[in-house]
Symmetry: C2
């Protein structure tokens, strides 16, 4: 697989335009004051299904030929990618088969079902998940859409940064969270082409620092028993995203759980918007000041806003 080019990302933007929200860029004078920088928040928490994942899923689904599309799409995920793929498939009028562990939270099952996804349950092991997915693909001819290690998905995720740079030029830094690396990959490709002086920084929870260690060691170091409140970032890099990050990303910084929660709460309180813990990781990096942000113009992709309001992290 080769990585998507800027042109492919621009084509993705045209392709998905009728289906996605062009999300707003928010600023906050009080957060600027707190971190002594100029922050520009690309609000993908307002995206359809509440996360940037809809961009990549949409691009993948609408890239399929008619005959491919007819047989549907499939994935294994219980998170935002599952919901995003289900909605994208619904928009194209094709089936989406979502393999999920039986033990997935009811709220996630309901989200996928609500978008018309066909849920196929499996045992909660990696082996069962892969076997179940392979069987579905075999039986239905559906196209497997990987959550991040897929050039169409990466191209879709990159469209958020196309919009951000069109609205806010001359950023010194763009920061995103990194889980599997799809969002960071798309972001880095776009920034390197359109704004080469912008530094692209991935931010990762200390308890799930596989991307940080992979770039340090120059090989994919998988997450082993990752532990973080940022539950969208538990996955490890794929070979495609690893190669892109190696080439285009200047730095990965790790962020403590405490800073993630602090960052999340500050955004809720000051900006009056709901972001999920994964989206708070770059904000936490600002508050931890692992690098010097003073006076910089910083774009931050707020990746999503799907939170269980009954289980907030600052709840005692």
């Amino acid at each position: 697989m080769t990585h998507p080019t800027l042109i492919e990302i621009q084509q993705a933007a045209e392709r998905i335009k009728p289906y996605i929200h062009r999300t707003p860029v928010f600023t906050s004078s009080s957060l600027n004051h707190m971190v002594q920088a100029d922050l520009f928040f690309k609000c993908e928490n307002f995206q359809k299904v509440g996360a940037f994942k809809f961009r990549g899923a949409c691009n993948a689904v609408f890239s399929l030929s008619e005959s491919e599309a007819r047989r549907g799409v499939a994935t294994h995920s219980s998170g935002n990618h599952a919901a995003a793929l289900a909605l994208a498939a619904q928009r194209r009028g094709i089936p989406a088969f979502i393999v999920m562990p039986k033990t997935a939270p009811e709220v996630k099952k309901a989200a996928v079902a609500g978008y018309g996804g066909k849920i196929v349950f499996c045992e909660p092991t990696l082996a069962a998940r892969e076997a179940t997915l392979a069987k579905i693909v075999e039986e239905t001819g559906a196209t497997f859409i990987h959550p991040y290690n897929d050039p169409r998905v990466i191209a879709g995720q990159g469209t958020a940064t196309l919009e951000l740079l069109a609205e806010v030029p001359e950023l010194d830094i763009i920061m995103t969270p990194v889980g599997g690396g799809g969002l960071l990959s798309g972001t880095a490709i776009v920034a390197s082409e359109l704004s080469p002086t912008t530094q692209v920084i991935g931010t990762e929870p200390e308890g799930a620092d596989d991307a940080y260690r992979s770039l340090q060691e120059g090989r994919i170091v998988p997450s082993i028993q990752p532990h973080t409140i940022a539950d969208g970032l538990l996955t490890s890099l794929g070979d495609l995203t690893f190669a892109i990050l190696q080439k285009y990303v200047q730095k990965i910084v790790t962020v403590s759980e405490k800073a993630i929660i602090t960052g999340m709460r500050h955004v809720w309180e000051r900006m009056k918007i709901i972001i999920e813990p994964s989206a708070a990781v770059p904000v936490g990096a600002l508050f931890e000041r692992k690098i010097d942000f003073t006076g910089k113009r910083i774009g931050i992709i707020l990746s999503g806003g799907n939170v269980d309001l009954d289980r907030l992290p600052w709840r005692s």
Copy 2:
């Protein structure tokens, strides 16, 4: 006192423009689907100090003559008006004296102090509050800015509806919460002049239904021991707001606590924005369907977003 005219409200809009946010209007296809109507949310939760109150406070402060302004402004409030007045005064570079009961929550004291307000504590009784305010005004020559029963404040609050109607014409209904009636008064004057076919509906908690009863009985019926989670709506109408509501408001509907909490949670979950309970009252009215909203184009002023995240209403 006479009520502000449309022209005075338009002048207010020009006067406060350099200081306020022009807040966005949000839509939500999932909420539209749930209530079977087209909803347009004017997001005053994103306003400076997190509430529409900054509009009125700003208009009052910047309406003062130089010699009046020099002596400062004063009010009694522990809520959004206090913070709004403090910030407006700070912007003009004049003192704001805020009379607050000693027992006010620390977070509210901190907000006012953070905007440079000079807090004057009093005993937590109405008599002490009024006596303390009178003393401050006497000693300093500061101008008392009432939270709602003041034409300059009402004119400021009306500017939100100027913006809403400029962006979304041909609304069938505009709904706001009603506490003291400042927001509803400004809204109703603007709508009656600029969009006479738009019905203006006030929404009030069942446990603080003084506006409903006042309009029913044709006289001001004060709130006696109001009880509601919508803590911005505990106050009673003033003579000025009562007269405006009598003349311009078609209907007040009351909303149960349960519907307020449901509405608040739906907005948080579906729109990913934080609104305070008072702002959720019109949303609750939609879910309770006390009137037929089906197919209507409905503007809703989301009045504010100041919430104690440690004490959410759905917390068990």
